[in-house]
Amino acid sequence: MSATEGNTNQENKILVNDFDFYYGDFKALIGLNLPIRTNQITALIGPSGCGKSTFLRSLNRMNDTISVARADGEILLDGKNIYAPGVNVVDLRRRVGMVFQKPNPFPQSIYDNVAFGPRVMGLNRERNLDEIVEEALQSVVMWDEVKDDLKKSAMELTPGQQQRLCIARTVAVKPEVILMDEPCSKLDPMATLQVEELMRRLADEYTIVIVTHSMQQAARASDFTGFFWLGELIEFGETFSLFTQPKKELTEAYITGRRG
């Protein structure tokens, strides 16, 4: 299929070209081609086990931590292949941050969680850190909730707050792309809505890729949608047209609930 359906005159933050991915001898992703548009929200949908997480983790090379993993093809970030030899994955992950399915704040204070990224990047001046922490918490609409409890352990927050804290932790290093792997699957509907609103606001500054198994969420919250099925990208396009006029039968079957 063509990777460039939809609004072709927009900028591509990421371009995926003939990308294959293997866990040992299991080929989990097969010949993927798609663009990720700058400052847009791209949703990845599909049944469980179809490779959405694997693909997302390929975008910042988190899969490198799995010893049997192997990638083929290229993923261009601002035109440069992130799988080229000599690419520094630490730098890559500072540019392409990630929020996980299960909220995973460190068992440390709220402040230390948000300050973690800036600190590992070498920023240690308390005054600057204070500013960054405040700004990051503001951008996830959490500052007023927690500004008096910054020393409190992040483990005491509700799951919804924890997830927003994790987003703040990512935002604090000012990445260019934020990857989110089913960020709302462990949250209640209210917290889910909060995160979705948040994504909208963040999309002004960041390019966002979100994996979701909720088609409603993809329809509500994204600009572009890719539909995965058994390791292949079946269809990719603008969210509205993909949901209203799917080009593939499989897509239609899935979004109308006949498959999946």
Partner: protein
């Protein structure tokens, strides 16, 4: 290498018959209660026995306080035959040897644990970890013998007036504490959820930053326990120390390097002299008083560790 695609895997799975898990139908309620009772009983009796031991120590040891003036305990000499019960050399010996052992074993143990848990490939960890745990089982008398036979001559050759020194004791004790520290600290690191590591790596922390700033703090409870057990082992150890430290209960003539002088520990004193004292004599009571002090030191070490660990485990909100 034949490559499998998701399509083929799905087909494969459909070909295999589904397994229906056995259902647990037993009423577990009564069983639970019996088990709970037994566990409680064990817990209560453990506390009861410890209390009994402490009472026994107090009964045998407290008379020493009435028979020997407090100022005499401060004497620099332990020489019971002349009625000199100077306690300082023994305390000094124990603290010196233990401190030396801790200085050697804690950094080495933690670094090894980090290597095994975070850096070594799985196959190497699976070989090394059991090996290290076997080392923990070597009887202390064997290590004492090795220290006496191999280590002491080496230390003498290196320039010490005698090979039987505090340093020799520290090395042997450090070696004895190492497997415990490594094994428990590694377990603690291993138990840190992968999500924490992923979270750190995903915002651009290096592997070392992840270990140092996320994994180690998250494993604090276990690491502190490991260190504490290591210290406990060093303080309480008797036979090996008795064989290699020279047993000189004298702190009047210091060597320039305090680690290179013979010392005598509290445990070694009790072990060496308990067999020869008349029950109920002053000497006998004083030996028990030493036991009380040992008990208190161990208790203090535990309390400090609990204080360090406490903050964290409370916030985990565990309930029994």
């Amino acid at each position: 290498m034949s490559v499998v695609t998701p399509r083929q895997r799905v087909l494969e799975e459909h070909r295999q018959p589904h397994q229906i898990p056995d259902e647990e139908k037993h009423s577990t309620n009564r069983k639970e209660r019996v088990i709970e009772f037994i566990i409680k009983l064990c817990g209560v009796s453990a506390i009861f026995i410890i209390a009994l031991i402490f009472l026994f120590l107090l009964r045998e040891g407290l008379p020493a306080l009435t028979q020997v003036a407090i100022s005499d305990f401060a004497d620099a000499r332990w020489y019971p035959i002349e009625g000199k019960y100077g306690f300082t050399p023994l305390l000094f010996g124990t603290l010196l040897v233990t401190a030396g052992a801790v200085i050697i074993a804690v950094p080495l143990g933690l670094v090894t644990a980090i290597y095994l848990g975070e850096i070594a490939p799985t196959w190497l960890r699976d070989i090394l970890k059991p090996l290290i745990e076997i080392l923990a089982g070597i009887p202390s008398i064997v290590l004492g013998f090795l220290g006496w036979l191999v280590l002491a001559p080496l230390i003498q050759k290196a320039g010490a007036p005698t090979g039987l020194t505090a340093l020799t004791g520290s090395l042997i004790l450090g070696y004895m504490a190492l497997p415990t520290i490594i094994s428990i600290a590694e377990d603690a690191l291993y138990a840190v959820p992968k999500e924490y590591r992923d979270g750190a790596l995903a915002i651009g922390a290096t592997r070392w930053q992840t270990i140092w700033r996320v994994v180690m703090p998250a494993a604090k409870t276990g690491t502190v326990t490991a260190i504490m057990l290591g210290i406990g082992r060093a303080i309480g150890e008797t036979m090996a120390v008795m064989m290699v430290t020279g047993n000189a209960a004298n702190i009047n003539n210091f060597q320039a390097n305090i680690f290179l002088q013979p010392v005598r520990t509290m445990t070694a004193t009790i072990a060496a002299e308990m067999g020869e004292v008349a029950q109920g004599s002053t000497h006998y009571s004083v030996l028990f008083a030493i036991g009380i002090v040992l008990f208190l030191i161990t208790f203090a070490v535990n309390s400090i560790a609990a204080r360090i660990v406490g903050k964290q485990s409370r916030s985990r909100g565990s309930s029994l």
